[in-house]
Amino acid sequence: MFRRKISRIGRGTLEAGRAAAELARVAAATLGGAVFGYWRGKRPKREIARQLYFVGNRSLLFVLTTLGFVGMVMVYQTCLLTTQVVDGRNQVGAQWARLLVLDVGPSLTAMMLATRVGAGIAAEIGSMKVTEQIDALRMSGVTPVSYLIVPRFFACIAMSVVLTMFGMAAAWGAGGLTGYYSFHINPRIFFDLGMVKPSFAIVGMIKAVAFGAAIPIVSGFCGLRARGSSEGVGAATTAAVIGSSFAVIVLDFAISWIGMVMLGASA
């Protein structure tokens, strides 16, 4: 009985390894397809525009709401904390701006996009897979990755950057309101960009781009692996949401670390 369990773990690990390798391949194919395709002049503008409308329209309100509430919470908690020790209330706005640009803005927006957009991509591609349309694409001489994933890749990156900026604005603004109404922080003191160095904005943008790139790759990958019928598509959707969210967290960690190392103590 024990042996069976070990062989199951072994097989599971092997499967995971194979899946990871396949994911890396899809990622490389997407990036390669995007870069070379763009260079060779293949810009599926209509498809990208369609994706942009689809994604952006339905996600904007969602992102604004969630980031807004998070902004309120974070400022509230920080104010509570600082009033306990020493009155650092005047710092809160500036600190929050820094944290938003560097980390929370891009990552939280991306987590929201992972649920909204990632699920949609996996569902679309997944149902194509279970109805053999992916096979039909290949028989017609088209690589599914370049036809399906690359346009979404471009659209998601653009969306991620745009929505991140909206989200940060919402979080900062909502935070400022909370600071004013609950802790009487003068808005002019709160809305202070002094702590945000240009290098922070660059790191934040790199994150937004990386997250926007990761979500369609992971979700598309999960969609392409869908098996069976509508249950399989559902499983692919769930995997896409979890996988994209996890990818965002790992990338956040990695980019933050690299940023800290490269920018030194000033980060």
Binding site: Y38, M128, A136, R138, M139, S140, G141, V145
Partner: protein, 257 residues
């Protein structure tokens, strides 16, 4: 020169051996019918020949371009009928068969498609210009009796109509080999005979996987009976119903065991 040659193909799913040392050859222009009990490996075999799935062992060699008609037609539900049929012409030739070990299993792409390179601008395949595409698509739709349905979406079509659109799409690039996976499954007898009429009009080499034994026996030159992963019987179609092997005869005629 054989058009299709399959040699010792084996495929396992987990511990189950779905195909075990399958070998056969098809001459150019000839028609092979593959019959057998459900889940006997017929669809998998067809996909291996098409290059969509890689065998665990064995070799497949196909001369020329391949077209495929899928069990559920697999029409692109985001494109209308015209765009569906035009798709292979707009986006490049169907993958050509090649000798030697097949490329890895999905979701990797067949080596042939990869050689074309990612991100190739959508242009008509070599030797076909855009005006020509329009003509060829309309000709195909006329041939399958669906002229006038160009702007419909797949969701607006009946099962039989979808199969016909699928057939038009599979043959519009004039492939040398066409593979049919259950072309008449779920269709009424009248539609079934109409579909086989269309198949007969195709000059290409063909492999048909079907559960409709009678119809396939009329259409094909040779029949292969696939059961438990092996070809249990391979012979001319007219000899099927008098086969020596009692299992085969029973399956073909539907006699009780």
């Amino acid at each position: 020169m054989t058009a299709i040659s399959v040699d010792g193909v084996t495929k396992r799913f987990g511990s189950r051996r779905v195909l075990d040392g399958v070998s056969f050859a098809v001459e150019p222009g000839a028609r092979l019918g593959v019959i057998g009990p459900a889940a006997g490996g017929k669809s998998v075999l067809l996909k291996i020949v098409a290059g969509l799935v890689a065998p665990d062992a064995g070799k497949v060699r196909v001369r020329g371009a391949i077209g495929m008609l899928f069990q559920n037609s697999a029409l692109f539900d985001f494109l209308n009928v015209f765009d569906n049929v035009a798709f292979p012409l707009v986006h490049g030739m169907p993958p050509r068969g090649g000798a030697g070990p097949r490329p890895q299993a999905e979701p990797s792409e067949p080596r042939e498609a990869r050689m074309r390179g990612p991100g190739v601008a959508p242009r008509a395949a070599a030797g076909i210009d855009t005006g020509n595409i329009d003509q060829r698509v309309r000709e195909r739709l006329r041939a399958v009796g669906l002229a006038g349905a160009e702007h419909k979406l797949p969701s607006e079509l009946s099962g039989g109509m979808r199969k016909r659109v699928g057939l038009a799409r599979a043959t519009v690039a004039e492939p040398d080999v066409v593979l049919y996976d259950e072309p008449t499954a779920g269709l009424d007898p009248v539609t079934t005979s109409k579909i086989y009429e269309l198949l007969r009009g195709q000059p290409s080499t063909a492999i048909v996987v079907s559960s409709d034994v009678e119809a396939v026996a009329q259409f094909a030159d040779t029949i292969a009976y696939l059961d438990e992963g092996r070809i249990q019987w391979l012979g001319p179609a007219h000899a099927l119903f008098h086969a020596d092997d009692p299992r085969v005869r029973r399956f073909a005629t539907g006699e009780a065991a």
